[in-house]
């Protein structure tokens, strides 16, 4: 498999990145080199091998659904780039 400029444009869109034409060209080359290296994994017979998501024997860690204190609004807004009426403000979502 090899990645084309078009793939890179598609992936950049999925990743919410704008790339300059130079970046597009650079990433196409570099991602191809990395993925070509990753093809090495195809040498491995993984038939019947279970995937490891992480090494602890944990799944679905549950806790009681209790009401707990959350951060006060002033603190939450301390890092907000823009705010109005105790809410985070963003540009229009719909035209």
């Amino acid at each position: 498999m090899s990645i084309t400029d078009k793939d890179v444009q598609h992936v950049a869109k999925l990743a919410r990145l704008n790339l300059t034409p130079e970046e597009e060209q650079m990433f196409t080359g570099q991602l191809n080199a990395i993925l070509q290296y990753a093809e090495k994994l195809n040498e491995l017979d993984t038939e019947g091998v279970e995937p490891t998501t992480h090494v602890l024997h944990l799944s679905n860690v549950m806790r009681e659904d209790e009401v707990r204190a959350s951060l006060p609004i002033e603190k939450v807004l301390l890092n907000a780039p823009d705010e109005e009426d105790d809410q985070i403000k963003v540009p229009a979502v719909l035209e």
Binding site: V8, A15, N18, L31, L35, A38, E50, L78, P81, P91
Partner: protein, 485 residues
């Protein structure tokens, strides 16, 4: 002898006996920083005012008498991807260049409870992605042993600050070698605990199935003290393990007689520098002289680890870094007309090349049609890599090899070739994938540059890892050498 040559326990005794005050320690740290930091560049943010205020409070506490904890009053540097309430935390990214956390990471809370003094936030590769610190969006860290060389990464600031005596100890994070490799390059002790031993609550996530926080220190005893303070279950981190934390200090018996060491032939093979190999073989002789034995073994899937790691870690990173959208915190682009533009513009302006590269790789590997071929295949390869370790640990107590295939390289030497850069982590990545603990300890020098030996243990057996490292250190002087700056 400078204060920085003492072990933490010796400084503790001096504080307890009133030969020293916390203010003295903080003074010393900032004097060192003023003398060296313009060359080393280990810190992104310094908090002299906060540190002096804490020192004063702690000195009052000390004057009131009583026995204080072992880390009481010690100036510490924190890697800048671990959140600190009221102290800017950037992950070395322009995206977070204005971000001041509103809570402490669990490890920071534990250190505060132990009465340490935070002196600043340490430089790193942006979002912990890199092995040379050249991916910091602020400035690269320099290796205190040779300022033209990299300190390693991503916890390069943590390793360099300890090596240069700017901090008494430091916290770093390790995803594929980010504590151990810089420790090796800078001649300090760097411990990556077992996955799940130390809480990651408040560690800005890179690859959640691999990230661990650990200490960088000048010697093994200090490492044990710091680990003791930060280890343990945390309900705020659902992947933290419910295990009893043993007394790591009591493990430092100095006794390795009868210890069975495995030395993987893959860790001394092609790509490993001849001097590094020789230095590590000499270190094994030191352990042999103390009654340990070693055999050559094989970890046959080692050659697949780097590919496995870059697919898994990048995939997880692409998902974790989706939160940086310019809405709630961080630097928001001014150029956005709509919400979707705001995401695109803020991310494109805020992230550096390596971060974008890994987000692109991960997004591709997880995208429709490629998931099975890349992500799932890598997760299966990870199982095979882990089984290699399980098998060896049926017969051996520890696995030993070099931490990195070479000593520190020159700044700029690998910057245009991401794949070569990734291969510097070839000996640390398999350990991360297996989730087991490992420490890098100074084991000698090659052409004046430090070489690290990696001691790898069974899951949650940090006690044995530290015992072996300590026994080695007791019989050598490498860890006492300091760079001339």
């Amino acid at each position: 002898m400078s204060l920085f040559d003492y072990k933490l326990s010796e400084i503790h005794n001096k504080l307890q006996n009133k030969e020293l005050s916390v203010t003295d320690l903080v003074d010393q740290a900032f004097t060192r920083i003023s003398e060296r930091e313009d060359r080393v560049k280990a810190f992104i943010t310094l908090d002299e005012e906060g540190a002096r205020a804490s020192a004063k409070t702690l000195d009052d506490k000390l004057a009131a008498g009583g026995t204080r904890g072992l880390l009481f009053g010690l100036p510490v540097g924190i890697k800048d991807n671990i959140v600190t309430e009221g102290l800017r935390t950037t992950c070395a990214s322009q995206f977070l260049s204005n971000f001041t956390p509103v809570y402490d990471a669990t490890v920071v809370g534990k250190l505060r409870a132990a009465d340490t003094v935070t002196i600043g936030k340490l430089n790193m590769d942006e979002f912990a992605m890199g092995g040379s610190n050249e991916n910091s969006s602020f400035y690269p860290v320099r290796n205190p042993w040779d300022l033209d060389r990299v300190p390693g990464g991503s916890s390069g600031g943590s390793a360099a600050a300890v090596a240069a005596g700017e901090a008494y100890f430091a916290l770093g994070s390790d995803t594929g070698g980010s504590i151990r490799q810089p420790a090796s390059y800078c001649g300090v002790v760097g411990l990556k605990p077992t996955y799940g031993l130390v809480s990651r609550f408040g560690l800005v996530a890179f690859a959640s199935s691999l990230d661990q926080i650990g200490p960088l220190t000048k010697n093994v005893e200090d490492s044990a003290y710091v680990l003791q303070a930060i280890a343990g279950y945390d309900p705020m981190d659902s992947t933290s393990a419910k295990v009893d934390v043993p007394d790591y200090l009591s493990a430092l018996s100095g006794d390795v007689s009868g210890l069975r060491i495995a030395v993987p032939k893959e860790y001394l093979g092609e790509g490993v520098d001849a001097q590094v190999k020789e230095t590590v073989l000499n270190a094994l002789k030191v352990l042999e002289a103390q009654g340990a034995t070693w055999d050559e073994v094989s970890l046959p899937h080692t050659e697949y680890a780097v590919a496995t790691y870059y697919l898994l870690a990048s995939s997880e990173a692409s998902s974790n870094l989706a939160r940086f959208d310019g809405v709630r915190y961080g630097v928001r682009s001014d150029n956005a007309g709509s919400l979707i533009d705001l995401y695109h513009e803020s991310r494109s302006q805020g992230f550096g090349d390596e971060v974008k590269r890994r987000i692109m790789l991960g997004t591709y590997a997880l995208s429709s049609g490629y998931y099975d071929a890349y992500y799932l295949k890598a997760q299966k390869a990870r199982t095979l890599i882990k089984q290699d370790f399980d098998k060896v640990f049926e017969q051996y107590d520890v696995i030993i090899g070099p931490t990195a295939p070479t000593t520190a390289f020159k700044l700029g030497a690998q910057v245009d070739d991401p794949l070569t850069m990734y291969l510097n982590d070839i000996l640390t990545i398999p350990v991360s994938l297996a989730g087991v603990p490992a420490v890098s300890v100074p084991c000698g020098f090659a052409d004046g540059l430090p070489v690290g030996m990696q001691i790898i243990g069974k899951a949650f057996d940090e006690s044995t890892v530290l015992r072996v490292a300590h026994a080695y250190e007791q019989n050598t002087e490498h860890h006492k050498r300091r760079p001339e700056l």
